[in-house]
Every structure is written in C-alpha cells, then in structure tokens.
C-alpha cells in the first residue's frame, strides 16, 4: 500500500525546532563548555611538547591532534572519549520525552509522518554535534597558528577535514544508539543509563574481552610464545573482535589519517617493510585507503542503528 504525500513533509520544521532546543538547552551548553576546557588543556600540553622536539616534521599541525602530554590525553583521545557522551546526552530523551510531555499524539496529529519526526531529531542532533566539532576544529587550527606559528599545508587541512567527517560518523553511531534506546525505553533515565552502560562496555570491557576471546578462539602458538612474540592468529582474531566496537574503528581511522606515517592498521611482517622508507608519510590517498573499511564501518553502524530505531518507532503505539 502506498502512502500519500512525502515522508519528508515537515522535516525542515522539526530539524529547526530541535536544533534550537539543543542549542539553547543548559545540558548541551554545560557539556560543550566541558569539552572546550579539556580540549584547551590538551592542546596546551601538545604545544608544550611540540616546542621541546624541534625536529623537522612536515605534519606539525596534525601533531596537535595526536600528541599527548601526561597526565592529559591527546586531543583525539579526548574526542574519542567524550563524543559518545555528548551524543548520548543529545539523544537519550529524543522520543520518550515527547511521550512523557504528552506532546507526541498532538504533534503526530499534524499533517506529517512519523518519519519526519524521527529523521528530524536525528539530523538536528547530528547538526548540533557537527557545529560543535567544527568549532573545535577551528580552535585547534587557530591555536596551532597562534602557538606554533606554522601555516597549515593543504594536505594537513584536507586530512583534518576528513577527520572531522569521520568524527561526525562516529557521533552518528552513538546518537542513533541513544535515539534507539529513547524509543525502546519510556523512561528517559533508563535510556540514559543503558546508553552509558553500552558506552562503558565498549570503552572498558570490550577491549579486554576481545583479547580474552581471541585467546580462546586461537590459542597462542608455542613457537611464537617461546620467542616472546604474539601469535599472528591470536592478534588477528583480537583485532577482528575489537573492531566491533565503534571506539576501535574511530581510533584506527584517526590513526591512519592524522599520523601519515601509519602504514597498516593490523599486524605487519618484517618482509612487508622491505624497501619502505621508514618515517616517511604516506600520501593522502594511501592513508584513506588504509582507513576506508573503518570509515565505511562507522557510517554503516549509524545507518543500521537508525534503521532499527525507525522500525521500532513506526510500530509503536501513539498512546502513552
């Protein structure tokens, strides 16, 4: 049965309304202040370290993103950690708050489809995160110019812009997860707790579990063990399992793009390094090629999560 009219009717209205809600909500302002503060701290740490090592580096600006100085993590370390929190903060009450405020049936009685409401909320969340990331990006570039006095090259700008896109895809995964949970659970508190639980699972528990499971699936080879080396099979399995976590995918993408010297994201054999000029960066195209599967994985992850929310939401009863 075909529906009459466009599923996107009213989409723009919903996006604008949600965007204005996000940008004026205290919750988001506090989170963003927090991020900016921590980002500045880590940037300061990075510049201090970069000043110490004055060796020639064609990608000095990118180092601002990746270099850390204990006890502060690097800029991308902070992002990998905080992006999920912000995304969950934006999405955990997206749908259930409409039920709890009893606005859902009133809004859906207007001439729009549910599609527009759900997609509108997702896009508005993504736009908010996009604005936030863009600001952070500008801060880093501006601070780099100011503190290091090195003008950024074209490739550096390109790489960091692509990094911005990847970060947005990473946001998308967590935002879609949070919205999914906001549909499944009527209580916003439950949705938030479950979302944070998933986040905790993927940041802390899954890396350990991946290692453990990999050793179960492919027990370490004695021949390698005696030489004090990890067995290739075990390492490969561990990586496969770890990549189920969006955090891992994000980390690998960022590594490939922002550290141009990265030649592989998996185990590498000595033979494969024959003829390689150690320490020389890869061209942008090659770096992209390395990270391509991870990038596709992140985008696909957000699409899958969004589709799941879509299916559940379409079948949900309107009455609270």
């Amino acid at each position: 049965m075909r529906r009459e009219g466009s599923a996107f009717q009213g989409l723009g209205t919903v996006v604008l309304k949600e965007l204005s809600d996000h940008l004026t909500s205290m919750r988001i302002i506090v989170i963003e202040l927090l991020i900016v503060l921590v980002a500045f701290a880590s940037l300061y740490g990075a510049t201090e370290r970069l000043r110490d090592t004055t060796q020639e580096d064609p990608f000095l600006l990118l180092k601002l993103f990746t270099v850390d100085r204990a006890p502060l993590p690097s800029f991308i370390g902070i992002l990998g950690f905080l992006i999920p929190i912000v995304a969950i903060g934006l999405g955990f009450d997206a749908i259930n708050s409409e039920y709890n405020r009893r606005t859902m049936s009133r809004i859906l009685a207007q001439p729009i489809y549910r599609d527009a409401l759900l997609l509108g909320k997702f896009l508005a969340g993504l736009a908010t995160l996009g604005v936030m990331l863009l600001c952070l990006w500008l801060i880093v570039i501006g601070y780099g110019l100011f503190a290091l006095g090195v003008p950024p090259g074209t490739e550096e700008i390109l790489r960091s812009l692509i990094f911005l896109g990847i970060a947005l895809a990473y946001c998308g995964v967590w935002l879609a997860l949070a919205i999914f949970l906001s549909i499944v659970f009527r209580s916003a508190a439950t949705a938030a707790l479950v979302a944070l639980g998933v986040w905790l699972f993927f940041t802390l528990i899954w890396p350990m579990l991946a290692q453990f499971l990999a050793q179960l699936i492919a027990p370490p080879d004695l021949a390698y063990l005696l030489r004090g080396l990890p067995s290739p099979d075990t390492v490969e399995w561990q990586q496969i399992l770890a990549r189920f976590s969006p955090n891992q995918l994000f980390g690998e993408c960022v590594l490939a793009l922002l550290s141009p010297t990265t030649r592989s994201l998996g185990p590498i054999y000595v033979e494969q390094l024959q003829g390689a000029v150690m320490g020389a960066g890869l061209p942008l195209g090659q770096s992209l090629l390395i990270a391509w599967p991870q990038m596709v994985g992140l985008v696909a992850g957000s699409i899958v999560m969004f589709v799941a929310s879509y299916i559940v939401f379409q079948r949900q009863e309107v009455r609270a």
Binding site: R3, G10, T13, R106, Q110, P111, I112, Y113, V318
Partner: protein
C-alpha cells in the same frame, strides 16, 4: 444522514488476543456534536486514533471526510483537529511559540502565521499570556491552548478526547461554551467523555461504548425512551401523617408505571405521561404536605446507570468486570 463526514463500518482493533474495538458502526453528520461515552478502557480513544490514522485498523473501515485515514493520513490530518486526552506542550517555550511550531507543521504560509495564531489565542482568551512559557499554565489553560491549535488549523472536524476531565466547574463551563462556538461555525465536533451531564448538555447524539462495542446510539431523549421505558420522571417530596401508605396510592394514578421511595419523603414516579397534577392531588388528598414537585428530564446519567444495571441483571451480575 445526508452528508456523513465520519463513517465507521465494522471498525475493529485487535492487540494480539484482545479485541479493543469490536465491529463499531456509526455516522457523524456535518456540523453535529457527537459524543462518545463509556467507561475508561471501553475503546473510545482507540476509535479516535483509528480515525486519525495514528493506529492501524485491524478490520472494517473508517472514512473521514471521504478519505481513508490509513491510505491518506496527511490529507485527513490536514483537515481534522485533535485534542488528545490531557494534552501536553513544550513547557520551556511560550504559548505562541508552541502554536508557531505546529503552524509550520500544518504548512500555514509564513505571512499568515502570526495573525492566525493571535486570532486563535484570542478566541480561547489566552492572548494575554501568549508570550508566557507554557510551564506556568494551569490545566484549563492548556486545554484551551489545545483548542486554539484546532482553531488555528481551521479544522472541519474537531476531535476532543476527554477535554473537560480534571477541569474545575468554571473552566469546564467555559470550555463547553467554546465547543458550542465551534458548532456555530459548522465545525463537526466529536467529543469523548465520561462526564455524562456535560455530554448531555452539548451533544446532539451520543454513542455509548462498552467493552469495545457501541451498545446505545442516538439522541438522548430517544435513548431515554429506549432504556428508561417511560421517559417521564417525577420527583415529589411529601411529608405524610403516619399510617398512610402513599406509595400504594401513587401507584394507582393512571399512567404511572413505577414508584420508588428514597428516604422518608422522596418518591420517584416513572410515568408514560406528565402525571404531576394527578400525583400532587393524590398526595394532598392523602393528607400529606407537598414540599417539592419536580419534573426530571431523562438524564444521560440515569440512562447510563440504568443501562448497566439492566446489563448486570440480565447476566446475573456476573459481568461487573466488563
């Protein structure tokens, strides 16, 4: 009915194993105020949601303004206004902003929006609080704001789900007046409620829901005839000297079908004609002091209560949980 704007035929809604609405048939004519009555959980809200295409129809069909809400929900929702049961608004923004959001969703042109919003707010007497946050609004004000949304839409049909529940008498009175105002503009109103006296006051016809079915449908006087039998109820308060059995004497008045006594003084006569003068004569000649004589119109309340009593009696009182 020449021009039904809502027509339901065998409308049914099932959730897994339970039937919530069971083969409901009714027509609502243009400009009518139609009441859906019944206890909570009788299927009123579900019927309304099916009319708006907000929940799927399991069997049967419903036509709203000639459209099928399942196939063309946008067209239906463009022309029908809905005030849900205990309506909610975005508390952190103002009344006018809330309406501005829905006005955009309705697709009202930007130039017209502001004037139409203000006009709607004025109609429900909220123009002074247009720029106040909805968080500060009382329940009555929220309901009126919901009505303003329907006015803003210039809906041809207004569907109001329990619009007066939880309102104080003054607010209820005002709200019912506004509903009558809608009728004067030939807006069809569908009203669901369990507040019987209010429904009786404004509704042209009513449908009584029970267990997902319509058990009674028609104008209130017709239903009275059907359920209460006689149609005339006369109450009289008489203080009688001891030893006089006024109840038996009243029963002999021609036309009286039943007499029941409440307390010491009050007698209620069910009759097939107006027996006031005859009954008064009997009471006075029996030596009683007549202090009150009233002609009670058949109230929906009486119909409702009597209907469920009859039901219970017919099934031996085993269906009390229905």
């Amino acid at each position: 009915m020449s021009d039904p704007v809502i027509a339901a035929r065998g409308l049914t809604k099932r959730y897994r194993n339970t039937v919530v609405v069971d083969g409901v048939n009714f027509d609502v004519g243009r400009g009518e105020i139609f009441g859906l009555l019944g206890p909570n959980g009788a299927g009123k809200t579900t019927t309304i949601l099916m009319m708006l295409g907000l929940t799927e129809v399991s069997a049967g069909e419903v036509r709203v303004l000639g459209q099928d809400p399942v196939r063309s929900p946008l067209e239906v929702k463009r022309r029908v206004g809905y005030l849900p049961d205990s309506v909610g608004f975005y508390d952190q923004i103002t009344a006018a902003e809330n309406l501005a959001y829905t006005a955009r969703l309705m697709g009202i042109a930007a130039g017209e929006r502001k004037s139409r919003i203000m006009a709607a707010l004025e109609r429900v007497r909220l123009q002074e609080v247009a720029d106040k946050r909805v968080a500060t609004f009382s329940r009555g004000m929220r309901q009126r704001l919901g009505l303003a949304e329907i006015l803003l839409k210039r809906a041809e049909i207004a569907i109001l789900d329990e619009p007066t529940s939880g309102l104080d008498p003054q607010a209820t009175h005002e709200f019912l007046e506004m509903i009558e105002g809608l009728k004067r503009e030939s807006v069809t109103v569908l009203l669901s409620s369990h507040m019987l006296d209010q429904v009786q006051r404004v509704c042209d016809r009513v449908a009584l829901f029970q267990g997902g079915r319509i058990v009674l449908l028609g104008k209130v006087p017709e239903l009275a005839q059907q359920v209460l039998g006689g149609g005339y109820l006369v109450d009289l308060d008489v203080t009688t000297p001891s030893g006089v059995d006024l109840e038996a004497q009243l029963r002999t008045v021609p036309g009286v079908t039943a007499v029941s006594r409440f307390g010491q003084f009050r007698y209620r006569l069910s009759a097939s004609r107006d027996v006031r003068s005859d009954a008064a004569a009997v009471a006075v000649s029996a030596g009683g002091a007549l202090t009150h004589l009233a002609f009670e119109e058949a109230s929906l309340d009486a119909i409702y209560t009597r209907y469920f009593q009859k039901q219970a009696a017919a099934t031996g009182g085993t269906r009390d949980a229905a």
